[in-house]
């Protein structure tokens, strides 16, 4: 049984169909890729998997649980965390606080622990803080760590988005175009880190339009188009597919 299994997922917004029976699965410990033209339904698929809305039909199972109708936090509790394509975050909270909020099972967050300072709570909090600082450092966010999110550049917000997913250390991370807007050099370093996480056992699914990056990281790659699964295969199989080239990659013109 796959770690994440999506079966025949269908959804329409105001009668406009967006997902037309998506089948999609990710095995445990995989670093899966998800690509497809703009508007194919990739983010919408993530939304359904993570619980932003309940799909019209179809099922989502994760780690043996049917999560189709669960609330978002229940899915997180099972170990499924996502990032957003349009970076969101808690705007008035600092980068540090934003990161800290993604630490899972932080015992310090209980009211009583907060009020009376339990030992375990304090330890959990300190461990999370150390982790948050390390992640911020890796993402080059040290010097803005105390900035509220509203005072970040567009790329920095995307970095925080990545950072939050890293904080969670879940079973599986769904990344939605994390690198769009991130400087290429930093992208490489983050890619290395993600690969390391994956090696540590965290399953990752990545939506990206940066084909070289997908090629570097992902196997297998699933292609979504018009709300359906077009194909699934290795990166090379995918880019050599004519339909994919037609719909997604486009013929490459030489620039004068």
């Amino acid at each position: 049984m796959s770690l994440l299994e999506v079966r025949d997922l269908r959804h329409a917004f105001y009668r406009v169909p967006v997902l037309n029976g998506v089948d999609f699965s990710v095995e445990a410990h995989e670093f899966a890729g998800l690509v497809g033209p703009n508007g194919a339904g990739k983010s919408t698929l993530y939304n359904a998997i993570s619980g932003l809305f309940i799909p019209d039909a179809g099922t989502v199972t994760f780690d043996g649980h049917d999560i189709t109708r669960m609330t978002p936090h229940e899915r997180v509790a099972l170990g499924l965390v996502r990032t957003f394509q349009m970076a969101r975050g808690f705007p008035k909270l600092t980068v540090f606080q934003n990161l800290m909020l993604y630490a899972q099972d932080n015992l310090g967050e209980g009211l009583l622990a907060s009020l009376f300072g339990s030992r375990t709570g304090k330890q959990a909090e300190e461990a999370a803080a150390a982790e948050a600082l390390a992640i911020a450092h890796r993402l080059r966010l040290d010097h803005v760590i105390d900035n509220p999110l509203t005072a970040l550049s567009g790329g920095q917000k995307k970095l925080v988005e990545i950072g939050r997913a890293l904080m969670a250390r879940p079973k599986m991370i769904l990344l939605d175009e994390p690198m769009a807007g991130v400087n290429p050099t930093l992208t490489q370093q983050i890619a290395d880190h993600l690969r390391g996480l994956n090696a540590d056992g965290i399953t990752i699914c990545l939506i990206e339009h940066d084909m070289p990056l997908i090629g570097q990281l992902c196997n297998p790659v699933t292609v979504l188009a018009e709300g359906r699964t077009l194909m699934k295969g290795t990166f090379d199989a995918v880019i050599s597919n004519l339909d994919v080239q037609e719909a997604y990659l486009g013929a490459r013109k030489e620039h004068a």
């Binding site: 932003l52 936090h73 997180v76 509790a77 808690f90 980068v95 310090g108 907060s114 150390a130």
Partner: protein, 300 residues
Amino acid sequence: MLSYLVFALITAGIYGILALSLNLIWGAAGMVNLGLVGFFAVGAYASALLTTLTGMPIWLGLICSMAVGALVGVAATSATLRLRGDYLAIVTLGFAEVVRLVALNERWLTKGADGISGIPRPFAGLLNPAQFQIFYMVLVLAIMIVAFLLLRRIDRSPFGRVLKAIREDQELASFAGKRIVRFKMIAFALSAALAGLAGGLYAHFQSYISPDHFQSLLTIYIFLAVTAGGVGRPAGAVLGAFLVVGFLEGARFIAHIIPGISAVQAASVREMMVGLALILILQFRAQGVLPEQRLPAPKR
């Protein structure tokens, strides 16, 4: 004059507790409680009825006013905690109205518009009125300070951080794995308990309460206090409460200085000044006098 100041401090202390209550729910968790005065009233009636009807000791009455405030608060709002903020605002507004109507019309319980008089005062037999006032001032301010310290602790704690996250974007908070309904419920219960406690303290100070005591004007005052003092910071809430009481009382003296105006004009000048003062504060300090603090990350 001294006893007047003592009295004003008691009032400010009670307003301060209410402001702390509002600041917790609104400033930290972003839930707009337009029915604050309703919880204040519930607390006041709870302790007043229990102590007068069953002879319960006052300290127990005060604890009950917290418990009843919290219970009623959660019961009234649990249905809306999943919903967006505006609806909580309306529901709490309605709650306060219902409390007022029940207090007014259910005579068998609340004695209706007559109100409940003869609510016991602590140590009333031992102290003369002046001593009692001073004792009560110390009591109220001490409770306020304890509440302040606890709330400041919450404000800076991981729990407070989650509340603030819910305030900023509750949907996203649930994607961060937070059980938002649970957090909101705890916060609301805590806030309602505090408002109830303020009500209980008020009842045992005044020894008389009636539906007229609990007009929405008080909610407005507290909102003004929290806004002027600084939303999202317990110290701001307390400062704001003292500022508002200062304005309310100080404006009396100024209004009387203006020559040639009638009593009703003086009264309107007084209220105008209160409105104006708050607008002016906000013009110069839109975030309030003591704006929300951002805690720096620990050093590596």
